[in-house]
Symmetry: C2
Amino acid sequence: MTGEFDIIAKYFAPLSVDCKGAFNLGDDAASLSVPDVVVTKDLLVEGVHFRAKDARSAVAKKALRVNLSDIAAKGARSIGYFLGCVWPSGVKEEAIADFAAGLGEDQELFKIALMGGDTTAHVAKGAPFTVSITMIGTTGSAGMIRRTGAAPGDDVYVSGTIGDAGLGLAALNAEMKFPAAHKAYLTGRYQLPSPRVFLGGALGGHASSSIDVSDGLIADAGHIADQSNVALDIFAEKIPLSEAALAFVKKQDDQNAAIAQLAGYGDDYEILFTAPASRRRSIEMAAQVTKTPVARIGTAVKGKGVRLLDAEDAEIAVDRAGYDHFAA
Amino acid sequence: MTGEFDIIAKYFAPLSVDCKGAFNLGDDAASLSVPDVVVTKDLLVEGVHFRAKDARSAVAKKALRVNLSDIAAKGARSIGYFLGCVWPSGVKEEAIADFAAGLGEDQELFKIALMGGDTTAHVAKGAPFTVSITMIGTTGSAGMIRRTGAAPGDDVYVSGTIGDAGLGLAALNAEMKFPAAHKAYLTGRYQLPSPRVFLGGALGGHASSSIDVSDGLIADAGHIADQSNVALDIFAEKIPLSEAALAFVKKQDDQNAAIAQLAGYGDDYEILFTAPASRRRSIEMAAQVTKTPVARIGTAVKGKGVRLLDAEDAEIAVDRAGYDHFAA
């Protein structure tokens, strides 16, 4: 293994060439001139957010994408990021090279650059690989879309399909079985989310509130409901499902319960948002122009909390807890 | 232990009240309007950058201060930060409360606010507490002071005193013994650095290059030399030493070697900078106005690398390695 400065020069400095103010990672700080900055920061920890055996390039991409998703859900465009890594003690150079290769591929895809950061290594044997990303974005003139703007009468939308990543994780952990093609699709959704960067950029000025689905559809709808002081009614049969998730639902005795289970899973990285009914045409256009599937799944009403409703408008029981890092 | 959202609401949201764009930590991202942004990011890991038994409030302050120091060394003023924490599995609420109290005290002292972040916990038992800070600063019209501007003929300066933190760490690890008063002073310098935030803000437009001393005086001088394409000659007898460090040096057989040892220690968090000889009066004024001790310790010359020179201008051998997180 070469030294810390060599590693930075060899693997990370090349990732910063598109950010002039990163000074080739040769200084203590980066100098940025960004109008209307939006900043988010997410940590990923081995054993919590990804598995020890996941390829380091896949971890790199997941780390970038969960942050890209946050910025997109705010109606902003990501321009670059700061990276903090704590490598396991005795990490092999190939692991670092693979991680940097993953970053490079996604930088190309999402038009972002490395702006700075910090690379260190654990002393404790077996301590988990940890990645911290601070993503910098910029909003258009419409400003950041918050969680607070939903009003009674607004429509509730979600992009893509819901529950795939949770099923994929269950497949990876051998807790569920799927046909090979479905398993490949579902595990892919868990390991490599596709942040809705184009749709996000098109929602500014139209969406009244927005969040990315990371805790789970119901839990994240709950965040919007809480922050906007409204209740959200979500219609189970309107929740968009992939072919693989639909096949899973059809096999269950209680299909409503199965949908509730999918709506409780996290890691979808779709965008859940609300917009006034008067904006339906604009939302359709935004979906069309950005080639992003968007489904209208519910409505905001006066009240508190989130209700998942069946075809007869009866409430379906949901497990609201979501994942809590501090649960006993 | 209460849940993740309760912890954020109870301990961290109150730290964000002075940053309007942090939305009380109730959104996915923060919205900032900062001219001439300077950003730095540093990770601290238990067992690497601090000890398992250090008070969490002290860890909080150290994490903020090493980042405040980076921003100050760039001639900028810190305004706020993003925080990422990975708590040990089974962390007690008192530890989180103590950590948040430490952040609060230093926010008050340094006039900064929490802007956002991410709080999570290890699943693996015994995995080390990890803190990631992304500090946001702003420069005056003079812009960011880089590592690249030193020119032959420039003076080399350093603030405060050098080597105290390294001696303090040795005392904490019982590798060295000191009289009680000296030990208290030295360990304090290690555990609670005092970033030179006022001096840093006064150096813009005067210093030609600047860095904070974290890797060690010689190693960090080396970064300036490399990036500025000059050599730095540093005069051992000019290096400012505290009373405690001076007492240590006087006890050694080879006093030049002892000074070289101090100049190799890290964690001083002083500012090392260069300025043209024509700016001597300005530098004196900056030191005076900001009540910061500043010593002129060397000169930049044509060439490469750093030489530590004795009173007869003979080179003193130094261990240049510094700490390398990836050394075998």
